[in-house]
């Protein structure tokens, strides 16, 4: 389940996009954030410095202090001298104060403590929602003996930092904006990179699929000189080598097949002379002396077997070379199968279920070969009763040849149509060429049908021939 959910994320495209996005976000955050923090500090520092500078400068203009201790009026004079257009000012002496009454709460104890030490001190404050700055100091007076002492008059100037805050906010917006733009650009870049990587990868995948399907001439374009190009080049080299090997193998196989065909044809001529005279030998053997007669019978039998083998070999080579052709005729299947059985003297040995009137277009000779091989095989290797059954399905005619022997073992079953395959190694060669079932299978295929071997539920082998039923109609 998790695997399935994660699967899309594992795609190269998604991984690239996520990677680029992550990198972009981290970089943008670090750069923009750092810049923001730094710029903010610089801006505030400047505002602070200029505020402190401005206040100390203003203070000089209120000296000399006329009365000490000051009264309410002289505090107002001081306050009035210190007010500028950017700031409001509060002047305190003891529990007397002038100006900006609300602001008293903004002055922290820390600030007062700092001031009482005689420093100029400042503190950033939240000025009713807006950022502000309080700068404070204590006015000093020079005594008659020249010593400097505190006057007890504290001056606080309040500055509005709204403009600076706005600048900083704009800076932040700008940073976010640039970050977003960069993110979009990074995503586009990621898509472009993914495409440039995935395009060749997809081409390779398609090409590999085609190669696997047997299109050995498949090649992929090699673009540029990057790693993907190297992979493409390697693919092409591999495909070329593979194609070469396959061509070579096919040539060798064709040579081998041609050799078999040539040998078969060469064997046929001397065999034709021999088989022509075996009837004479057979007829005479009975009158010959015992040993000579036996020798003659052996020669005769060998000639028959050899002829069958060569004929079967020639038949097989014609399938291999694709020169086997159908000579179709419309026949009654039941009549044809009975003719096959009768011609070989099997009519009495085989149980038949052959409904008449099944007409089809088949090659009668090839059908004869198939049925004769299947029934002959069943009679030799299976146990009676051997059954031949004819039936039809829509579009197909089906001939089933079954026996009641031990059936075919799992080991034998897939190989039963192999050429020269002998299930029982002890079997003698004289029983068949070893090509009968292979030829039957090829004949079924030539008809665009099939021949399948299986075991019956009740025991015994069952060969099923299926041929396309082209109904004979006028």
């Amino acid at each position: 389940m998790i695997q399935r959910v994660l699967a899309p994320i594992r795609g190269l495209r998604v991984r690239l996009l996520l990677g680029f996005a992550g990198l972009c976000i981290i970089t943008a955050t670090l750069v923009a954030g750092g810049m923001y923090v730094y710029a903010r500090r610089v801006i505030l520092q400047q505002a602070q410095d200029s505020a402190v500078f401005a206040l100390t400068k203003q203070i000089r203009s209120v000296y000399p202090l006329h009365t000490l201790p000051p009264n309410q009026q002289s505090l107002a004079v001081i306050q009035d001298g210190l007010v500028t257009k950017d700031s409001s000012v509060r002047v305190e002496y003891g529990n007397q104060s002038v100006g900006n009454r609300d602001a008293a709460s903004l002055i922290s104890a820390d600030l007062r403590a700092e001031i009482s030490k005689g420093h100029v001190a400042w503190q950033r404050v939240d000025w009713s929602g807006a950022p502000g700055l309080v700068v404070g100091t204590e006015l000093m007076v020079k005594g008659a003996n020249g010593d400097v002492r505190s006057s007890g008059v504290d001056v606080f100037a309040f500055y509005d930092l709204g403009a600076e805050a706005q600048s900083i906010a704009q800076l932040a917006y700008l940073a976010w904006g640039i970050g977003a733009v960069v993110l979009v650009m990074a995503m586009l870049l990621a898509i472009a990179v993914a495409r440039s990587v995935l395009g060749p990868v997809r081409e390779l995948r398609t090409a590999a699929g085609r190669l696997g399907a047997g299109e050995l001439s498949t090649r992929v374009p090699v673009r540029g000189s990057d790693e993907l190009a190297e992979v493409a080049q390697t693919f092409n080299n591999t495909a070329q080598a593979l194609e070469g090997h396959v061509v070579e193998l096919r040539r060798m196989e064709a040579d081998a097949r041609r050799f078999v065909a040539d040998v078969s044809h060469e064997l046929r001529t001397p065999l034709a002379a021999m088989i022509a005279v075996v009837d004479v030998l057979d007829e005479q053997a009975a009158q010959l002396p015992e040993l000579t007669g036996e020798a003659v019978r052996l020669v005769s039998q060998g000639t028959h077997n050899l002829t069958r083998l060569v004929n079967d070999l020639i038949e097989v080579t014609r399938f291999d070379s694709g020169t086997a052709a159908l000579a179709l005729d419309e026949i009654d299947l039941a009549v044809a199968i009975m003719a096959t059985l009768r011609a070989r003297g099997w009519s009495g040995e085989v149980r038949t279920d052959l409904p008449g009137g099944v007409l089809a277009r088949v090659d009668p000779r090839r059908l004869d070969v198939i049925v004769a091989n299947l029934v002959g095989n069943a009679l030799r290797h299976g146990a009676p009763p051997v059954t031949v059954r004819l039936r039809t399905e829509p579009g197909w005619l089906i001939v089933e040849v079954g026996d009641h022997g031990p059936g075919l073992s799992d080991e034998v079953l897939p190989k039963v149509f192999n050429r020269f395959y002998k299930a029982d190694t002890a079997r003698t060669r004289s029983e068949g060429s070893g090509l009968g079932l292979a030829i039957s299978w090829e004949n079924a295929r030539l008809h665009r049908g099939s021949l399948v071997a299986a075991n019956q539920p009740g025991g015994g082998a069952l060969f099923t021939l299926r041929l396309p039923l082209i109904e004979v109609t006028e």
Partner: protein, 230 residues
Amino acid sequence: MSRVLLIEDDKDVRDGLALALTWQGHTVRAVESGELGLSALADDPTDVVVLDLMLPGIDGFEVCRRIRADTNLPIIMVTARNDDLDVVGGLEAGADDYVVKPVQARVLEARIRAVLRRVGTDARPDAEPSAVARHGTLDIDRAGLVVSKHGGPISLAPTELRLLLELSAAPGRVLSRQQLLESVWEQAYLGDSRLVDACVQRLRAKIEDDPANPRYVQTVRGFGYRFGPL
């Protein structure tokens, strides 16, 4: 029994077949080329020709055509394969039957007998005596084994004649190729239907006014052939 002319270029095969056929009682004249075969035909009376298709000099097809040009002698061809163009070509050239090499003498002998039975002399003793059946412009004398068209006799090879007799015995009745193979070619089991088709073509060329549009021997698609109805 019968006089056989064997035309076969391979000496061993020729000797073997000649020996076997002789042993079975035939008089065999064996020659190695088509040219020698044709001149032997001119010299000696012959009942049947056994002809290998692969010959040096003029090939078997040509020999077949030349024999057919002059006579209606039965011709059995010997072919290397049974499912290729050689068979069709040989049948079109006029051969009556074929056997596939390597061939057992017994098989060849059976075909020789079958083809000879089609020849007039020992054909159909049970035919209706002197009944000349008239079909359109075609007169078929089943006893005399003479076929005339517009009053003039037509020269038919034995197999063609036998096929025509078989078909015309029951005008309008459809006979399948396999039935015809059994009755005309005496093939006990599944025979090659191309034998029938080729013979029908040759027969039509001789008896039909328009062989492409036959009246007498009609094809019944999917079933076989039928004589008439006219």
